[in-house]
Amino acid sequence: MKIDRRSFLSLGMGVAAGTALSPLPWKLIDDISIWTQMWPWTPVPEIGEVNYVNSTCTLCPGGCGITVRKIGDRAVKVEGKEGHPINSGGVCLLGLSGLQNLYGYDRRIKTPLKRIGNRGQGSFQKITWDEAISEVVNKLSEVRSTGQAHAVSCISGSDQGTVAQLLKRFLTAYGSPNFFTMPSMQDSYELALYLTQGIQASVAFDVENSDFVLSFGSGIVEGWGSPVRMFQASSRWREGKGKVVQIEPRLSITAAKSDKWIPIKPGTEAALALGLASVIIKESLYDKEFVENYAFGFENWKDDAGKTQIGFKQFVLEGYGPDKVAKITGIDKSTIISLARSFVRASKPLAIGGRNQGRSTSGRLNEFMAIYALNALVGNINKTGGVWSIPKPGYIKWPKVEMDDVAEKGIKEPRIDAAGSASYPYSQYLLNRVPGILNSGQENPIQVLFVAGANPIYALPNTKAVKEAFDKIPYIVGFSSYLDETAKYADIILPNHVYLERYEDIPTPVGFQKPFIGLAKPVIAPQFETKNLGDTIFLLAKGLGGTIEKAFPWDDYETCLKETLSEKWDSLEENGYWIDSSLKPADWKNAFKTASKKFEFIAAGKAKDIASLFGFSSSTLEGDEASYPLVLIPYDSMRLANGFIGDPPFVMKAVEDTVLKGKDVLIEINPETAKQLGMSEGGFAKLATPVGTAKVRVHLYDGIMPGIIALPRGLGHTAYDKFLGGKGVNFNELIGSVEDPVSGLDATWGIRAKLTKA
């Protein structure tokens, strides 16, 4: 064959044209590229009709109104409810991630489970509801028949709302006084309210109207109180409507948002509050109308025996002058004086306490008392912009429980924790005392334990001791929706619906000024074989029969809820909440139910003397300084849930890389302290406290006081799913339980610690 130039060129063009014209290569390329755009393993969300269901978020005690976007029968997004009294449209990241709790099948408990492996190992066997109920009923009957009714005990997240009250009612009808809630600052606040004002009520803060907030370590924008509401208040202050002074050893976000951050030696907040009081009194800057007419125990007074007792004035002037307080707190005398003056000069000053989120611990009573005293000195009790006491919404008006002999006998047994006894007369629940009692005793005061809406194995201080105590309890019944640490420790689990699958009433969020009830509504049908805890209680009662069964005359929980809420139900169904907007706090003439009918600085007849209420004692920290030269404190973050809910994946994703790196938590340390220890950013270290040790990494942070180190709460889970479990360290493993000397409540905060290079 001979090829000349012409045939060569035409051949070339022919080949090119032939290829181009043949559809095959083009079709193939196109098909392949389309395939890459629709990989069969990339999900295509189903479309459907859009509608919104209003409900209430229960992931923290914030009580935010939410609206859930649904597409067909899928819930696709949680949003804040516009115009809601608590959060007016705002929502936090935990609330936004709610659907990951609902649809997070890996963390959910799908059917009743019975333990087959060792405690805590997490090996369970699926059982039916009938089997589960009859097993628990048999166990309860057995315990009851041996005269041990009072040894059945319950830890509930709260004692508020119908579900918690049904649990409590169940114990009452069964014959046990041993109902417990998890600790929170509300315990101390409510106790301080009772001691100073003689009332059982909720504390409320009129933050929207305050123009000067003096915060003793409260994480105003870190989850304290009702988080979204506090954020919105904070934004008002940032618009120039108020000033915030933050007192704490670490530059928290709240401190950074505040107008002034005053670092303080950890644990000396009460002394500072008393110091400020002494300046206010010495300079005669206090609200004379209130103090002279509506307060008792400011001046020295004579008790019933005619003995002169020291009043608040003499107590602080003598013991807490600014020089002395400067030494205790490490804050300049001049700062103390000018802070006291700024506080009283403001038109609506407000002092608040409860460190960080105010949830993990009850705190020290003297601190709350001192903070209350500051508020009293400026007369902002029950005033616009001040601290209020409001009645708890008393809608639960069930008939009194009819008790059989066993119940009558059991309920009269002393409480395990001695709450309400002569030793701790004013405290309702002292769960913090229980692990110690169980671990030191021979007998088992608890035969059966119910756990609902709480994760004590994770969330109580000194995890090891808590586990040890739980090991002594022969039978643990969990009601959790999630396979959390405590559920993993249970012998049997009767899983509750997730909040988006159930009805529930959510009464007044922490610190809110109006009586309020939010309604959680089923947004979608239950995903699994779970039951509303209310219904589970009814089934158990029915199984036990007799007076116990009679105590629960409702067909089901929904009926019970509707009946209980009676005339409020319509408003709840329609708006998702009920509010008593008309409530105004009682005026000074009527507010106080103490013997003196006044605000009492000295809790006459209740406290031994004034020093026992307010007295500051230094060093309440466990551990000796020589072996443990540093002080470890916890900090809370919106990005780390630390209660009975653990971070869902989206929230974990938001955790900063200066907090968690891979599976290692970073401990905050001042660069100066780190230098002394020869540590640098990201380096590994061994953290030791008198209670435990942990491997951590170091994060240098200028915002923390030298000599102090800080760990976040909310990590170190050993349960849930791979997105949360096995990451970081649980702060509670490193800290011992500290009991408040007056109230007996949990006052755990910091601990002495040592950090060595690893």
């Binding site: 064959m1 001979k2 090829i3 060569f8 395939w35 890459t36």
Partner: protein, 419 residues
């Protein structure tokens, strides 16, 4: 197949009148580089099937080791277009004695570059969208078009070489095809030179247009930043140095003189003057950038070299050692004619242009831009390293095969007569 057949076939394929190493030795080296190639191919498949998570790239380091290799290899492959330009357009006839090798090296470089790109993109099967949905504003569009066209040209330039294999040439069709292709090679060389001027430039433009990346950003004329011209210029200057370097390396390995000194000298001299003029332009560019462009954006020169890894030494290495020094050597006759200094010059020039490509893609990523960021550093994963070495092994194999079986060096027989 009977193993005894192999030496026979090998003999039949080798060009006449030249000496080649024994087949076992050849086979051994093929195996060694073949193994490296396979390692790279394995890594390549990992990247394709498991995705780019196999690399240590991240959201700050979207361009990494192999993109540098890509740019470097294209710059070094510049010997092909520039030698072609000199031979066919300027008419430097002596260069016909090195053009084949320049074309081969260019072919290797460009096919490697395309392969790397095919591994680098997250969706290789959609890579043709660059043509289908072409964005005329994008330097990368320009790069893609010119690069693929020029690869076509190089293939066309390389094919006649293959056809000249002793056995293939026996087939009249291929013989005639080769002949005809040679006849029109000037057209392709001209097209190739034109395309190359542009895509080398647009590669320079890739970093130069990034006005969000002050370290790479350059002002310029019309739509072209100065780096557009600097890249073309430096490729034209250093590409031939690479051709010389590889030629000399081949000579060392084969133990034979393959190209006459006058040819090398001519290419070296032209490179030298190109490099000298380039480095003056580069210095002017750097000074203008450092004293006008960057301060306007709020940065100082020091900012860009304030990292222990990315220190000012890089600038010294690139400009002084990799630019000024080889330029001086190559423009002086004594420098060119001394084997040692010539070696030093071409190696330094190759390093210089490679460092330039490194800083223009990788240091650009490493420098903090927002005041609250810090430096981003990155170390390649083994998969990246293997896929980057893959083209090197492939190049060596192709050179070995081409040298053994194709008449690459027209002067070989004359310089190495066999009796």
């Amino acid at each position: 197949m009977d193993s005894a057949l192999i030496p026979v076939m090998d003999d039949a394929l080798k060009p006449k009148g030249v000496q080649r190493c024994p087949i076992w030795q050849f086979a051994l080296w093929i195996c060694i580089f073949g193994a490296i190639l396979l390692w790279g191919v394995y890594a390549m498949f990992l990247c394709w099937f498991k995705g780019l998570n196999q690399t240590n790239m991240n959201d700050a380091y979207g361009f990494a080791l192999w993109i540098w290799a890509d740019l470097a290899v294209i710059a070094l492959g510049g010997g092909a277009f520039f030698t072609g330009f000199l031979r066919y357009i300027i008419g430097k006839d002596e260069l016909k004695n090195i053009i084949n090798y320049a074309v081969l090296i260019g072919f290797i470089c460009y096919s490697s570059a395309l392969l790397i790109l095919a591994i680098d993109v997250g969706q290789p099967l959609r890579a043709w969208f660059i043509f289908w949905h072409a964005n005329v504003h994008s330097m990368l569009t320009e790069v893609a078009f010119c690069l693929s066209c020029y690869f076509g040209v190089l293939t066309i330039e390389y094919i006649p070489l293959v056809l000249e294999n002793r056995q293939i040439d026996k087939v009249p069709f291929f013989h005639n095809l080769a002949h005809n292709m040679h006849e029109i090679m000037a057209i392709f060389a001209a097209t190739g030179a034109f395309l190359s001027f542009f895509h080398q430039g647009s590669l320079g433009g890739v970093a130069g247009v990034l006005f969000g990346r002050p370290f790479g950003y350059r002002e310029g004329v019309l739509i072209w930043p100065w780096t557009f011209f600097l890249f073309t210029w430096s490729a034209a200057a250093c590409g031939p140095c690479f051709t010389i370097m590889i030629t000399k390396l081949t000579e060392v390995i084969t133990g034979k003189k393959l190209v006459k000194q006058n040819v090398i000298d001519l290419l070296a001299k032209i490179s030298g003057w190109m490099l000298a003029s380039y480095i003056i332009a580069k210095i002017l560019d750097t000074v203008y950038w450092a004293t006008v462009t960057v301060p306007d954006m709020g940065y100082t020169l020091k900012h860009f070299y304030s990292n222990p890894v990315y220190g000012i030494w890089i600038l010294f290495l690139e400009i002084v050692l990799g630019g000024i020094l080889p330029a001086i050597i190559l423009i002086t006759k004594t420098g060119r004619n001394n084997n040692v200094t010539l070696w030093i010059a071409v190696v330094l020039a190759v390093i210089g242009v490679s460092v330039n490509r490194w800083v223009m893609v990788l240091q650009v990523m490493a420098v903090p831009i927002l005041p609250f960021e810090s430096w981003y550093l990155y170390l390649p994963s083994w998969q990246e390293t293997a896929t980057t070495i893959l083209p090197v092994a492939y190049g060596i194999l192709l050179v070995m095969l081409s040298y053994r079986y194709l008449p690459i060096f027209p002067q070989e027989r004359e310089l190495n007569p066999i009796d």
